[in-house]
């Protein structure tokens, strides 16, 4: 075949690039993803037992366990020696989350009930679960078995602290590259080892996470026993504890937390707050270092933002004549919604679609903040905003004093200039992706004949990309993402995945230099 003319030389450059050897040990990455999939069989056995208990079909979970074991074992054979460097870590983080998201969808498909019998919807629900987004496509909750609904909660809990933190705690192969993985997964550099062994650090984090979850479930169940939370059966107590501490937001009840009593709602607030607090900080706090959170600048900002916006929201609700709750309910709804959105949980106690534009926009802006780095929260995270803010303040200062040298400090520690640049880039990239998704949702919505305002499109884009969950309008707190077109849902699936692992691990895979250089 005669070669086509190649005026730009692109084909030639691609050919040259392809001749270079692949520098990524993708077999090692895939092998380790396989090991993770094998381990997913363990959490899968929980809904299986539940299905047996409630006399529901066992098949969805049996099939999934078979698939995950089969695929997992198959992938494990690929890897010779697990030589995990920086490049392999990116690939593994990206693939692990994708693989667990795919596996998570299988029970929905096999069960075949309701809207999630469709592959796109099943994958949306599963990805929304594992990324702790909490955006649901479910329309009618009653057609789904309790075991299927519990599986949604369980995958959210697994995704909360991070699939890889879990992997590090159980896979001894990861004891060497583990720190890198953990930092790649959360894009934070303050994974201070709690113990010299990363494996043990990961285990400590998971014990802490499990402990807080059990405490939450226990507290909710006690309310039930005392009689002030009638709906909080052991099933509901556990289900909500799993997704509150994971700041995830799925609920087996169609009315979310709004379906439960005042006492239950007040109880869940502090656990969402704790879930979005740096776990290392919590660990030291529990170990008796009481003043450590106070010394931490990010924590002080976190408390400040929560208190400030809660007061603002309460004032907005109190002065809004169209909202007709009693005083306590106004305070409760203000606090709950602020904490839920800020921590990226996405629970709701009330349909805030009916609130005033001011209140809605406050919630919308909170979507961009997120909780503390090193927690289960998503979104941009306060740490980055603090650095951006301080960087901006520094720029204003050096505009006048051109020779001044001003390092940026956080809790008294100097932040490296390279980190500052990374944070700027990350924040800007997040906002750009957010706008791109907004445009896509709005345009695709118009194409598919979906009535959606620009604000609703923006909120849906933010709620999925920043892993929050409920948006405004059709996808509101008691609504569903089902009306969106499949194309929009597919874009959201990808961006939930990208957003949860903080963009870089996915985008870096798209660069030629990553593969061959």
């Amino acid at each position: 075949m005669p070669s086509l003319p190649d005026p730009t030389g692109i084909a030639d450059r691609i050919a040259r690039w392809r001749r270079r050897p692949v520098r990524v040990n993708w077999r090692a990455s895939l092998g380790l993803v396989g090991s993770i999939l094998v381990w997913i069989a363990v959490p899968l056995s929980f809904p299986l037992i539940l299905a047996g208990y409630y006399d529901e079909p066992l098949l969805p979970f049996l099939v999934t366990i078979a698939v995950t074991l089969g695929v997992g074992r198959g992938l494990e054979r690929l890897s010779g020696d697990a030589d995990l460097g920086g490049r392999e870590a990116f690939l593994m983080v990206a693939l692990a989350w994708l693989a667990v998201g795919l596996i998570g969808a299988i029970p929905f498909l096999v069960a075949g009930n309701g809207v999630i019998a469709h592959p796109v919807d099943a994958l949306f629900e599963s990805m929304s679960g594992i990324t702790t987004t909490g955006a649901t496509v479910l329309v009618d909750f009653s057609v789904h078995g309790r075991s299927i609904l519990m599986w949604r909660q369980v995958i959210q809990w697994l995704g909360g602290l991070g699939v890889l933190v879990l992997a590090i705690s159980v896979l001894s192969q990861l004891s060497i590259g583990g720190t890198q993985l953990m930092e790649t997964e959360t894009q934070t550099q303050d994974v201070h080892k709690l113990s010299p062994h990363i494996e043990e650090t990961a285990r400590m984090l998971w014990s802490l996470y499990s402990g807080i979850t059990l405490a939450c479930a226990g507290a909710l169940y006690v309310l039930h026993l005392v009689g002030i939370a009638p709906g909080m059966t052991p099933y509901n107590a556990l289900a909500h504890a799993l997704t509150a501490v994971a700041t995830a937001g799925f609920s087996p009840a169609p009315g979310s937390v709004g379906a439960f009593s005042r006492a239950a709602q007040w109880t869940i607030i502090p656990f969402m707050f704790i879930g979005a607090t740096n776990f290392i900080l919590i660990y030291h706090f529990i170990r008796g270092d009481w003043l450590r959170p106070v010394r931490n600048e990010e924590f002080r900002y976190y408390v400040g933002v929560v208190v400030g916006t809660t007061v603002l929201m309460a004032l907005l609700l109190l002065t809004d004549p169209s909202v007709s709750f009693p005083l306590e309910a106004k305070l409760r709804h203000a606090t709950f919604q602020v904490v839920s959105i800020l921590t990226t949980t996405g629970f709701a106690t009330v349909d805030f679609n009916g609130w005033s534009p001011a209140a809605k926009h406050v919630l919308f802006l909170l979507m961009f903040l997120g909780g503390m780095a090193g927690s289960t929260t998503c979104s941009i995270k306060l740490l980055r905003w603090i650095i951006v803010m301080k960087g901006f303040r520094r720029d204003l200062f050096t505009a006048v004093h051109t020779d001044a040298v001003r390092p940026i400090r956080l809790s008294g520690t100097v932040v490296e200039e390279e980190t500052v640049r990374d944070v700027y880039a990350y924040t800007l990239l997040s906002v750009v992706i957010f706008f791109a998704l907004t445009a896509f949702v709005a345009v695709d919505g118009a194409r598919a004949g979906l009535e959606i305002s620009e604000f609703e499109a923006m909120s849906a884009a933010a709620a999925t990309f920043f892993n929050i969950g409920p948006a405004f309008g059709v996808a509101g707190p008691f609504g569903s993402y089902h009306p969106f077109s499949n194309a929009t849902k597919a874009a959201m699936i990808v961006l939930m995945w990208v957003g949860r692992i903080e963009i870089i691990p996915v985008f870096v895979l798209l660069t030629p230099a990553y593969w061959r250089s």
Partner: protein, 505 residues
């Protein structure tokens, strides 16, 4: 109180040197003898306080490692009374010293066993490691201590982290005395900055007593008054009047003239009040604007210590990397990266409005230039670090308000240490024409139980009792004040009679 002005702790518990006194009759020249050899000699010891051991009858064997400026200066001070061996690794430098001083020089590595043995380290009474490298000094002292445990080791250190380690565990690294040049210099500068009108400031009795030297300006309210008239400040004593290079002990009818310098001793508050009275426009407060030029170690410590006093200085450093490091280490300091002699920069940043400018650049000439420049821009007061002690007077004449010589500071510190048997603290006035000493009165002191009036009769004329602290409280010395055993007395003494006075006290 800052670490280096604290008496070495091992002296306080007494164990390190009491054993020494018992079995030796050291042939150490007395202080008075030493003073005759031009300039002060920090390493001679008063007879009652041998800090290191010597063996029967021969002169003291001193090994100095490193023939840099400090090493040379110390060797010059010691050459006449002691057997001094200088170890230096640069052959040309060692040669230079052989011709310049009456010492034995050995070319070699001061941490090398063979070299040290060649320097007769086994017989050493004192080992001084004064190279520019901290680690070398530490290793050299440790090595010397390992070979000759009886040798008294002194290390010059720049990095304060080693000083902290040493203070944490006295005798760490086998070092008996650690002297941190940069920190001492910075402390000295900060004392001057803290009392801007003063030419010299020293603290005694754990900070309860301050000594300060002031120049009386033309417009000062005490000009042409007698000391009796001027003495209206609570708990403040006029210790001396310095006029045309002479030291005069003030009497009630002595007249204070413009251009005189007075040494006052009293509580920090009274010294502050005095400063405000005679130089109100220079009175210091926390909003004082301080500019430090040069991010050397001294500049760094000056800023750090000023930060501790609640000030926010500005620091100018030319080197990019260094400026960044300093900015990271000094949260309250505004670090600027620029050439400090760039007029554009100085005007842009309104350096002329500063109250005080401290120049800590690496060369004396640059510091002088910087201070003159600052003067022209309108800075009220300039302080310069001057390496060459001989330049201090010259620079102060030309326009630098206060010159601080690191070497002099180190010498003072070491002398302060060697005196520490009874005199806990000492400050030099006018390049060693007089001293201010802090002495604890022992029960067998000739002064114990006497009133000041009687005590003064026993003491030579050129002595002033500046302040007394009893049970950690300041007592203003008046004629009928009784001196008791256990009191700490701060006295001003002219150098020629120091030995006589210390013997009496």
């Amino acid at each position: 109180m800052s670490p280096s002005t604290v008496r070495p702790r091992w002296v306080a518990d007494g164990r390190a040197w009491i054993s020494v006194v018992v079995e030796t009759t050291p042939q150490i020249p007395s202080r008075g003898t030493a003073s005759r050899y031009g300039g002060h000699n920090p390493f001679t010891l008063p007879p009652r306080t041998p800090a290191y051991e010597t063996r029967g009858g021969r002169s003291v064997h001193v090994v100095i490692i490193g023939a840099g400026q400090v090493g040379e200066s110390i060797a010059a001070d010691l050459q006449h009374d002691h057997d001094v061996v200088v170890v230096e690794n640069r052959a040309d430098r060692a040669d230079e010293l052989t011709y310049a001083l009456d010492v034995l020089t050995i070319t070699g590595d001061g941490t090398d066993l063979d070299t040290l043995e060649e320097a007769d380290i086994g017989e050493a009474d004192m080992v001084l490691a004064t190279t520019d490298d901290d680690e070398t000094n530490i290793v050299a002292c440790s090595t010397a201590k390992a070979i000759t445990p009886s040798a008294f080791t002194i290390a010059r250190i720049k990095n304060t982290k080693y000083l902290r380690t040493w203070e944490h565990d006295e005798g760490a690294f086998g070092i008996d005395l650690m002297v941190c040049t940069n920190l001492l210099t910075a402390e000295s500068i900060v004392r001057v900055v803290g009392l801007p009108a003063a030419r010299d400031v020293d603290v005694f009795a754990g900070g309860r007593v301050q000594m300060a030297e002031f120049e009386i300006g033309d417009g000062s309210p005490i000009v042409d008054q007698t000391v009796e008239e001027a003495d209206r400040f609570d708990s403040l004593t006029f210790a001396a009047i310095l006029r045309d290079g002479d030291v005069e002990v003030p009497r009630g009818d002595s007249c204070l003239l413009a251009g005189d310098r007075v040494v006052v001793i009293g509580s920090p508050h009274s010294v502050q009040t005095f400063a405000r009275t005679i130089a109100p426009e220079e009175s210091p407060d926390e909003s004082a604007e301080v500019v430090v030029i040069g991010g050397s170690e001294i500049g760094y410590h000056v800023c750090r210590l000023l930060e501790k006093r609640g000030l926010s200085p500005r620091l100018v450093e030319q080197d990019h990397e260094r400026a960044r490091t300093l900015a990271e280490q000094l949260p309250e300091t505004l670090v600027m990266e620029s050439d400090a002699t760039d007029m554009g920069f100085l005007e842009r940043e309104h350096v002329g409005d500063a109250d005080i400018l401290v120049s800590t650049l690496d060369s004396d000439e640059k510091n002088l230039l910087e201070c003159l420049l600052a003067r022209r821009l309108g800075v009220e007061r300039t302080v310069a670090v001057i390496d060459r002690t001989s330049y201090v007077d010259l620079f102060e004449t030309v326009g630098v308000d206060v010159g601080v010589s690191p070497r002099e500071v180190v010498a003072e510190e070491i002398t302060r240490f060697t005196q520490s048997g009874s005199a806990e603290n000492v400050a030099f006035i006018e390049s060693d024409r007089a001293e201010v000493l802090e002495v604890e009165i022992s029960a067998d002191s000739a002064l114990a139980g006497k009133t000041i009036r009687d005590a003064m009769a026993d003491l030579p004329e050129c002595v002033v009792i500046g302040a007394i602290t009893r049970n950690r409280e300041l007592i203003v010395p008046r004629g009928d004040t009784e001196i008791r055993a256990g009191d700490h007395v701060v006295v001003f003494v002219e150098t020629p009679v120091v030995d006589e006075v210390t013997a009496l006290l």
